[in-house]
Amino acid sequence: MGDQLDRAGTPYVQFQGVEVTYNGIVSALRGATLDVRRGEFVFLCGPTGSGKSTFLKALSLQVRPSNGCILLDGVDLGAVEPNEVSEIRRRMGVVPQDFGLLPKKRVWENLGYAMRACGRTRREVRQLVPEILERVHVLHKADAFPGELSGGEQQRVAIGRAIINNPPLLLADEPTGNLDPDHSAEVMNLLLELNLRGTTVLVATHDMPIVEHVARRVVLFEQGRIVADSHSPRATVQGADEGAQAETAEAQLEGADA
């Protein structure tokens, strides 16, 4: 199924020599060029400060490139008018590194707000929110405030919110950043499942065990540049045996429990 979409022609996401500078001083991206086809699952890897988050923020119009060009489904994001930004964003689910949950809204309201903001009715919210919460396994926390949740639960709520409008593109920044291996695997499975349904997924992470375990396309960032791109599935699986991986995870979990 993924192969069919791969052959569909023009890239879905195109970065062409994108440069991003913060405050006119800090160069966060120094000419990033990358094509992502519809339906792909791509890991953006690299050390802290290498520009992964900035790449995702540029794609979700949170920062503007000082140079270069970003195309989403053939549309030049640099030419998007301010009043069209919300339209573009409704076509992508964003899972920010800090979850970005509204602290004064309950879990279900966080999802409901995203839906209502995108023009869905109250009836749709009532129907869909429990379904999504069930899918990300936080339905039992529906009435809690984000501050009352663990990091893993907040992460899952953030993912739930990102997929509430069924976006064709999902951007996740360090989704396993502060999760134990078990929960990391669970979150990753969720993202893979979405990808199987046709969602294009970009994940920024430096969680290399997960990357090796999942074995998808890996793009390596270093100091604002893309220095490597596996481009083909399983190219970076370096003897990562699934069983061994699971054992490690279990061992770590037991260690944490003790």
Binding site: L61, P82, N83, S86, R89, G100, Y113, A114, C118
Partner: protein, 297 residues
């Protein structure tokens, strides 16, 4: 459409409730500012009215020129009595005036003054009806036997009220400007806190695809609600204070002081509206701020 409006109002109400202290601060600040302004207007109007009515009911003293012989002066009583509106006239000859002065100020030695009494002959003139006051005073002043500026309002209460009336505008202005500045600073801070607190929230809302109007409408509504609640709170405080002051004044001064009652409905609605406008303006400034800073690019 109805669904939309319900959503916006729901958002505003929930935010109002959840923002707890911020809402409390905003509401009380608006209440304070509105109360001060409306209260000041009330108090000033009240004192002006009091001074006016009290002054016009009191006895007037009329000083006769020294050039008029004592006998002629005492005869003026009938002429004064004939002025329409005058109810009572008492002649106080200069000798009696000195006597009265000595009784009031026993510590001052006035024995030497009996030889060359510096006090003029004087009439105490009572006027019953306020509306005759001005015409009586001008009739008295126009008499050729009366000293230039020889019509005085000698009452202690009158003097006090005149003083109050003179200082209240200055005091009121100073107090009003100070309080206006203070409440301005309070509101500025409250709004700034809201902006800082909301900056992230606004960013998140826009990130999930909310339109700008969708984000700012509930916030402006929230400000409007806070403002009108503050205005109504100020109205309740003002009405209570007014009622209390009215009772005290009436107990102390009886029929002399006439403080009219305030309309409860008009006060609450009027001040609520003032607060609503205030709150709306403040929240519009608050929600505009993050966009001007380019946070929500």
């Amino acid at each position: 459409m109805l669904d939309r409006i319900e959503f916006l109002f729901g958002e505003a109400l929930v935010a109002l409730r959840r923002n707890g202290w911020m809402s409390f601060a905003a509401i009380t600040t608006v209440a304070m500012a509105v109360f001060l302004l409306a209260g000041l207007v009330q108090v000033y109007a009240g004192i002006a009215r009091l001074a006016d009515s009290a002054g016009k009911r009191l006895t007037v003293r009329v000083f006769i020129r020294d050039s008029v012989p004592d006998a002629e002066a005492s005869a003026l009583g009938a002429q004064i009595k004939a002025i329409p509106g005058v109810t009572f006239v008492r002649f106080v000859p200069r000798r009696q005036g000195l006597q009265e002065f000595r009784e009031k100020n026993p510590e001052i030695d006035v024995t030497g003054l009996y030889e060359a009494n510096p006090l003029p002959n004087c009439f105490h003139v009572s006027i019953a009806d306020q509306k005759d006051f001005d015409s009586v005073v001008s009739s008295l002043q126009s008499m050729k036997e009366v000293e230039p500026n020889g019509v005085k309002f000698p009452s202690d209460v009158q003097e006090f009220l005149k003083e109050v009336q003179a200082t209240v505008p200055i005091l009121g202005l100073v107090l009003g400007v100070t309080m206006l500045a203070t409440s301005g600073i309070l509101i500025y801070n409250a709004i700034r806190m809201t902006v800082v607190a909301r900056r992230r929230e606004i960013g998140i809302m826009l990130l999930v695809g909310a339109r700008r109007t969708m984000v700012w409408a509930p916030m402006v509504l929230e400000g409007l609600l806070q403002g009108s609640l503050g205005g109504v709170l100020a109205g309740v405080t003002l009405l209570t204070g007014h009622h209390f002051v009215r009772q005290v004044v009436q107990d102390r001064m009886g029929s002399m002081a006439t403080i009219p009652t305030m309309s409860v409905g008009a006060t609450l609605v009027g001040l609520g509206l003032v607060g609503a406008v205030y709150g709306t303006v403040c929240s519009v400034i608050a929600v505009r701020e993050p966009w001007r800073q380019g946070v929500a690019a």
